[in-house]
């Protein structure tokens, strides 16, 4: 399990980093989304990888076996905030596109 998840995190990081280093705004926004998946999974995995033990208390059940709720709480808000920043970035992207007429990250034309 761990090896699959860590490889997945690595691949998504690679793709995300590659994309945010590209010159087109759309590539950067997609890259950031990929990176946020990778980071969310990474933070989530810090608490250990356990199956079938969601951190929901039941009557009489011991809570030693349950999954770590702290990274989950962190990631939950990270997901929502991630949506907000994607939206913000998208709008900035559109505004920049409207003002400069290009979708280059520095707002400059095709040549150069």
């Amino acid at each position: 399990m761990e090896i699959i998840l860590s490889i997945a995190i690595g691949v998504m990081t690679s793709c995300g980093v590659w994309l945010i280093l590209r010159p087109r705004t759309y590539q950067v926004i997609i890259g950031l989304s990929l990176l946020s998946y990778a980071v969310n999974l990474f933070i989530f995995s810090v608490g250990g990888v356990k199956t079938n033990v969601p951190p929901i208390l039941s009557e009489g059940g011991g809570h030693d076996v349950l999954a770590d709720p702290v990274p989950q709480a962190l990631v939950l808000t990270a997901i929502v905030i991630g949506f907000a920043t994607t939206a913000l970035f998208l709008v900035v992207l559109l505004a920049s596109r409207g003002m400069t007429g290009t979708d280059h990250v520095d707002g400059r034309g095709e040549k150069r």
């Binding site: 998840l5 690595g10 929901i56 709008v91 409207g98």
Partner: protein
């Protein structure tokens, strides 16, 4: 005066009142900003100053004989920072100076300020400055002292730049702020070092551990930094040049700042810390050199000033140099003389500044080349000014004479065998002669000689009675102190001296006549020499340019500005050119590389070695899912440039796989949230796609070597980062999880948070404050998006109708039975009907998710997203217009309400005596439904829910509205084109 027992003992709280009154007065003055009257704000300021003076006077019995009045309030005790105030004899003397002269200046300013000036602003700054100054002298904690020190810098900046339409005022204020601000920063460093040496920031403790400080290795750095602070504030060479430039301030400001307060703060600090710092060779040499140089240079420059206030400014610099020199000597008698001179200088200099202000006020100029013979017009003011300048020159029978005599007596003594010691008597006499010369010049030029011609204002006359009153009072004090020092100022001076020197207090005698001794001879030489010097220079001075001869061009101000330009502009620009970039790609590359190194370095240091890989426990289905996920990730990266929609679809696919992973690995809450966010993100980016330029894939054969190199480098960075992340992630996952805080949350979630879903309990209860911050951020982002889109102007090539719509419309036009727009409307007819029917179902589902959130997966975040998807689907199904005809969502209201509910829930805990956001939980039994959890956290979650709905809908709707706006713009433009 030991017999002064008025039978009142002030509680220490009066110290707080004393300090708070000026600030309160300052705020009250702001309230008067709209009044036209100059009298009201000035009366308020006078009243405040008078009350402060009154409190100070009442406190006197408690500070005699080295007693101290203390007030202590814990502020941040962990950092050793307490709000502690202490009033001892020395601080008391300064309080009297600040409040007394402050009071007189407010009386004077009432007449000085004209109707056109924003008078309330003046008094507001003035009182704030007074409060800051009181703070310096009252502080019992050195950090607190540093805070008030900065406050004086800032408020004096505001005062000097009061006439902010004048460039000279702005420049002078900026210079004063820069110099004293840098000094203040140095002082803070020095005080922190001092606190570090002593182990406490408490002033009493620091003053008591002089030997420890002087023998410490950090003594010299601490001393240098503290002296930098004091010397910049007191305008000592080479930092003296800000003071003459600060003369652009209104004269009452100069009278206050440059006699009793601002510049005195530096020497106050020196005297205050002298028990802890003085007595070493470094102290003697640094202070002595600065003091002697300033004393001589200031006096010399003062002779050649043509501006009345300029003369007084340089004279102030010189007198402060005198005090600094005295303090540098480190002997108890010199300290007595220094403290005495602080007092004397404040009285005669304040009165002289005010007299200069009257002359300026009555004649319209301060240029001594134009002023002359004013005695006939202003006989009364002239007499007062003459007495005050005689005190400045050190003429017998006046207070200036006494302290100057004491200075001469100290100058003769040998303190530390050095060059400074040898030259001091000569320098002192010479500076004394200079001060006689400029004082004589001031009197002779301005008041005697022929009547002035070409004055900006005709026939000057005596000022109003109360404008003259402060000068009269101060001059009378000069006389009384000068004639009967031991009976007038003696006891108070003794109180101040005892509080500084303690057991070291020397025997000294305050009297006018000490016999025919060496200091008297030096005084006589200075008087005669000064008079002769003025007589020789008289004609040259009457016409010469401003500034001393030969080195007139060499101005500290100019050097300062050159340095400022060099550092803040040239160097900054050079640095920006060399190492800065405005391009995003290099910046991001640096961020990524730095991030990678920052991750690598600790691993390297701790000797991390990846364990041998164990391929055990691999679930085939899970592996298969992620095989797809990895392919999708690679596909996204590859296609994002030319095939945006495909990349977006693939991204969504990855999102789903992440969601499945969360389900698989015991995180149902995350899975729900991820799924919902995935939906809104996809819709969001779809809405944005329409405004991006078309990009068709064409095989570009002309890829340059540089571009190829760049791609290769980026690919390398990406792969390395990926591998690094894989290793770290694997290491983290396989390491045993230390028992951190998880157990606490799991154990207490039900008993304290009243919920079984621990993740939700953490969000809304344990870490509720974080969540409040996060939803606030969410709200801010949504508002920013909304604001940005209001001014959105799309690129011209996206203004035309999208291709699909054109094709569909053409289809309609070709068929006579169809109207234009039919196809668009019928597009996805069946799904849209289903979407409309689903509306109530999804709302119910959202409520369900919300209600169960505390005990089962769900909660405010996911419920909010669900509800916003319900709205979103209506927009998708029927189009923006259709949806808005039927349902009006007011996202801003939702957001506002959400934030208010969340915050009020938190505040509610206060009323029950708990910290912010403490929650209360219990179960309610409702008929039919049964037991329902009713924690206040649920209310907080309601706030989260409302805000998430509002923000999400606001973002998406604002984006969706752009299409309508563009259609409208297009119609308007088409009409315009038709008309023309």
């Amino acid at each position: 005066m030991k017999g002064w027992d008025i039978g009142i003992t002030l509680a220490p709280h009066f110290l707080v009142l004393l300090l708070a009154l000026p600030f309160i007065g300052s705020l009250l003055s702001v309230l008067l900003l709209n009044t036209a009257s100059t009298a009201l704000p000035s009366r308020l300021a006078s009243l405040v100053a008078f009350c402060c003076l009154f409190i100070t006077v009442l406190a006197y019995p408690q500070v005699t004989d080295g007693n101290v009045l203390r007030y202590n309030l814990e502020w941040i005790p962990q950092l050793g920072l307490n709000f502690s105030l202490r009033l001892d004899g020395f601080a008391w003397m300064f309080c009297v100076l600040i409040n007394g002269i402050g009071f007189l200046v407010t009386v004077y300013a009432r007449y000085y300020m004209s109707e056109e000036d924003p008078v309330p602003r003046f008094f507001s700054f003035f009182l704030a400055f007074m409060g800051a100054m009181l703070g310096i002298v009252l502080s019992g904690n050195v950090i607190l002292l540093s805070i008030f020190w900065e406050l004086t810098s800032i408020s004096s900046f505001l005062l000097i730049s009061y006439w902010n339409n004048s460039a000279a005022a702005r420049d002078g204020a900026r210079m004063a702020l820069t110099i004293t601000g840098i000094g203040g920063f140095c002082l803070l460093i020095g005080l922190l070092l001092l606190g570090n040496i002593v182990g406490s920031y408490d002033l009493d403790k620091i003053l008591a551990s002089g030997d420890l400080i002087r023998s410490h290795a950090l003594y010299v750095p601490a001393l240098v930094f503290i002296l930098l602070g004091a010397l910049t504030k007191s305008a000592q060479f080479p930092f003296h040049f800000w003071l003459p430039n600060a003369m652009a301030a209104p004269t009452p400001v100069s009278a206050f700042l440059h006699s009793a307060t601002m510049v005195k703060a530096g020497v106050f600090l020196l005297a205050r810390f002298s028990p802890a710092l003085s007595g070493t060779y470094e102290w003697f040499f640094i202070l002595g050199a600065a003091g002697i140089f300033t004393l001589l240079l200031g006096a010399f420059f003062a002779i050649f000033q043509q501006d009345l206030k300029g003369l007084l400014a340089y004279s102030t610099i010189s007198h402060l140099g005198l005090i600094t020199t005295l303090l540098s000597l480190g002997s108890p008698l010199a300290t007595v003389a220094a403290i005495f001179h602080m007092l004397n200088h404040a009285t005669f200099k304040a009165s002289l500044f005010m007299a200069a202000g009257i002359i300026d006020h009555e004649t319209g100029t301060r240029d001594m080349r134009r002023l002359s013979g004013l005695f006939r017009y202003l006989p009364y003011t002239a007499t007062l000014a003459m007495v005050a300048s005689a005190a400045m020159a050190g003429v017998p029978l006046l207070n200036g004479f006494l302290s100057k005599e004491m200075f001469f007596a100290e100058a003769i003594e040998t303190h530390a065998d050095s060059v400074l010691d040898i030259i001091l008597p000569y320098v002192a006499t010479l500076a004394g002669a200079f001060s006689v010369a400029y004082s004589l010049r001031f009197i002779h030029t301005v008041f005697f000689g022929p009547s002035p011609t070409n004055l900006p204002k005709d026939t000057p006359h005596e000022p109003p009675r109360w404008m003259r009153f402060p000068i009269e009072l101060l001059v009378v004090i000069c006389l009384i102190v000068g004639i009967v020092p031991a009976f007038s100022v003696g006891p108070f001076l003794h109180t101040a001296v005892v509080s500084v020197l303690g057991t070291q207090t020397p025997e000294y005698s305050l009297s006018m006549w000490h016999g025919f001794n060496l200091p008297l001879i030096m005084s006589l030489i200075a008087l005669a020499g000064g008079a002769a010097l003025y007589f020789v220079l008289r004609h040259y001075l009457a016409t010469c340019e401003d500034g001393p001869p030969l080195i007139r061009r060499l101005k500290g101000q100019r050097i300062f500005e050159r340095i400022l330009v060099e550092v803040s502009w040239r160097w900054a620009r050079m640095a920006e050119q060399r190492i800065g970039t405005r391009n995003l790609q290099p910046q991001l590359r640096w961020v990524v590389v730095t991030g990678f190194l920052a991750g690598l370095l600790p691993l390297w240091h701790s000797g991390f070695e990846p364990r041998t890989f164990v391929f055990s426990g691999v679930d085939k289905v899970f592996a298969g899912i992620w095989l797809i996920g990895i392919c999708l990730a690679l596909g996204t990266a590859y296609l994002a440039k030319y095939h945006r929609l495909a990349a977006l679809v693939m991204l969504g696919g990855i999102g789903l796989i992440v969601c499945i992973t969360f389900v698989w690995l015991s995180a149902p809450d995350l899975a729900i949230t991820q799924l919902l966010v995935e939906i809104v993100t996809t819709v969001l980016i779809l809405l944005g796609l329409r405004w991006l330029p078309k990009r068709t894939e064409k095989m570009d054969e002309s890829v340059t070597f540089r571009a190829r190199f760049r791609r290769f480098r980026d690919l390398l960075i990406a792969i390395i980062c990926g591998i690094g992340m894989t290793f770290i992630a694997y290491a983290v996952m396989t390491m045993p999880v230390p028992d951190a805080i998880a157990t606490y949350f799991l154990e207490n979630a039900y008993s304290e948070g009243g919920g079984r879903n621990v993740v939700n309990v953490i969000l809304v209860d344990f870490r509720g404050f974080d969540t409040l911050g996060e939803i606030t951020v969410l709200g801010i982002v949504a508002l920013t998006v909304f604001a940005l889109l209001r001014r959105f102007r799309p690129a011209p090539d996206t203004m035309v109708m999208p291709e699909q719509q054109r094709i569909q419309n053409r289809f309609d036009e070709e068929r006579p039975e169809r109207n234009a727009g039919d196809t668009v409307r019928e597009y996805l007819l069946v799904p849209s009907v289903i979407m409309q029917w689903m509306f109530p179902v999804i709302i119910t589902f959202a409520v369900y998710i919300f209600m169960r959130g505390h005990d089962l997966p769900g909660g405010g975040f996911s419920a909010g997203l669900t509800l916003s998807i319900a709205f979103l689907l209506q927009y998708l199904a029927g189009g923006t217009r259709w949806a808005e005809d039927r349902i009006r969502i007011l996202p801003l209201w939702w957001m506002g309400l959400g934030l208010i509910i969340a915050t009020l829930t938190g505040i509610g805990a206060w009323f029950l005596g708990y910290p912010f956001l403490t929650s209360h939980s219990q179960y309610l039994t409702l008929p039919l439904i049964g037991k329902v959890p009713a924690a206040t956290a649920l209310l907080f979650d309601l706030g989260v829910f409302l805000l998430v709905v509002g923000s999400t809908v606001l973002i998406l709707v604002a984006l969706a509205h752009q299409s309508i706006r563009i259609t409208r713009l297009r119609t308007i433009e088409a009409e315009k084109a038709k008309e023309s």
